[in-house]
């Protein structure tokens, strides 16, 4: 239950931190979408209910804070989670190259979905320049994904140890 209660706060903190990092470190020129990697990681580590709700909430908050339309990133993240869940049947998180490839595919899927919805969002087609600017971001996220998978795994392990520690009698 703690997981579901803390999920909105964690998601909000993650998205805000991600946005601030993009804004301060990269001056808004490059968006390193950590939330996408979290969703992919959830596909490997969580069951459909936990991971699905995590993706849904992350996507919804991302929508609220960055997208003029509600539901777009919610849908994308839920679909990415499902793709990742299906991929996890064949791929192990310990295979960095495959994780990078999966992240690349998911990021491309996200990009294509946004391009598809772009006329609805902004009333016109996306420019070639925007697509070219999006490509390095996809590559950066893909390259970072194995490292971040390791980091997430470590955080998860730390949290699980804390949760499973028995209360000492005094």
């Amino acid at each position: 239950m703690t997981y579901y209660i803390s999920l909105p706060f964690f998601s909000l903190a993650l998205i805000v931190s991600q946005m601030m990092t993009e804004d301060i470190v990269f001056s808004g020129k490059i968006a390193v979408e950590l939330s996408l990697i979290v969703v992919i990681y959830a596909g490997f580590r969580f069951d459909v209910l936990r991971g699905g709700i995590l993706s849904f909430i992350l996507g919804f908050i991302y929508d609220c804070l960055t997208c003029p339309l509600s539901g777009l990133y919610t849908l994308i993240y839920v679909l990415v989670f499902l793709i990742s869940k299906v991929a996890s049947l064949r791929i192990s998180p310990g295979q960095p190259f495959l994780i990078m490839s999966l992240t690349l595919v998911c990021a491309l899927f996200e990009g294509m979905t946004i391009i598809f919805f772009h006329p609805v969002l902004y009333g016109g087609g996306i420019s070639t320049h925007a697509i070219l600017a999006y490509l390095p971001q996809i590559l950066i996220v893909s390259v970072l994904s194995p490292v971040l998978f390791g980091a997430f795994h470590w955080i998860e392990a730390v949290l699980n140890v804390r949760e499973s520690q028995p209360v000492k009698r005094t």
Binding site: I15, M20, V48, G71, L75, L79
Partner: protein, 282 residues
């Protein structure tokens, strides 16, 4: 859960996709509608974002200050060196300015004096308990000789007691061996001004019958021919008439501050006026 366990994941996945599509279609249909949850998230995110921005800005400020400090040490050293040089330069200018003022006073004194004068610089002080004298950087080469009077812009300094080619020793008025013919300017009473070291001078041999007041000016008389008449010596600061003895006890404060002398003027009198002899300095 009420869902069949076998199809539970599939049903949850479909449910999530459907809910997402509903939200999306609703949002496309009514793009202007903000929605309660959207507003709630925006309101919650704003202070969080603001907190992160402020923290990062503060960190960036600290970092910038650190970077600034790295260069600051070198700059500080350079500025200190520049400052020391500038202080030296200012000091040179100040010294030059003060010297100019003193020389102007000497020059005006020279213009007031009818005699030939030689300007000299004080190069040493011999103001021990035994002797109160100064050394000046002019000697026989410059026309100086024994017993020539030495003056400053405030008044008489003393007389030359030893001289060599380029250096002369001047016995100050306050030396206990210094005896100068003097007279009180107001009532022309004659006396001998004798040095009294740290007490200044005392005017000797003034009879009790004469009236001398505190503040009276004492000037040189030309009885001995050593000093031209009328040069300022000092002012009377104390007069005592004791019961015993014939003379008054008169203390005189010299006008010249001997501890601050830097430039002096030697009055070169004619030999007929001054019959002193020249003695070589060791």
């Amino acid at each position: 859960m009420l869902l069949p366990k076998k199809h539970q994941p599939l049903i949850i996945a479909c449910l999530l996709v459907v809910v997402s599509l509903i939200i999306l279609s609703y949002s496309v249909k009514k793009p202007t509608s903000v929605g309660f949850f959207r507003e709630l998230i925006l309101e919650t995110a704003a202070p969080l974002a603001s907190m992160i921005t402020v923290s990062v800005k503060n960190l960036a400020g600290v970092w910038k200050r650190y970077i600034l400090l790295v260069g600051l040490e070198d700059e500080n050293g350079r500025l200190k060196r520049d400052n020391a040089l500038l202080i030296q330069e200012i000091n040179r200018y100040r010294e030059g300015y003060l010297e100019n003022i003193r020389l102007q006073k000497l020059l005006s004194l020279k213009e007031r004096t009818n005699h030939h004068t030689v300007a000299a610089m004080v190069i040493g002080r011999d103001q021990t308990s035994m002797m109160k004298a100064i050394l000046i950087n002019k000697g026989t080469v410059h026309g100086l000789r024994l017993d020539l009077p030495v003056i400053a812009d405030q008044g008489v300094v003393g007389r030359i007691v030893e001289t060599s080619a380029h250096v002369s020793r001047v016995l100050l008025l306050i030396d206990e061996n210094s005896n100068t013919d003097a007279l009180v300017q107001e009532n022309r009473i004659q006396g001998i001004l004798q040095g009294a070291a740290s007490l200044g001078c005392s005017l000797k041999y003034v009879p009790k019958t004469e009236t001398v007041s505190v503040g009276n000016i004492v000037v040189t008389s030309d009885l001995s021919g050593l000093f031209p008449k009328g040069l300022l010596l000092g002012a009377v600061k104390n007069v005592e008439k004791t019961d015993s003895g014939l003379f008054q006890q008169i203390d005189v404060a010299p006008f010249v501050d001997f501890s601050k002398l830097e430039e002096v003027m030697v009055i070169v009198l004619d030999k007929s006026d001054n019959m002193g002899k020249t003695r070589k300095l060791n």
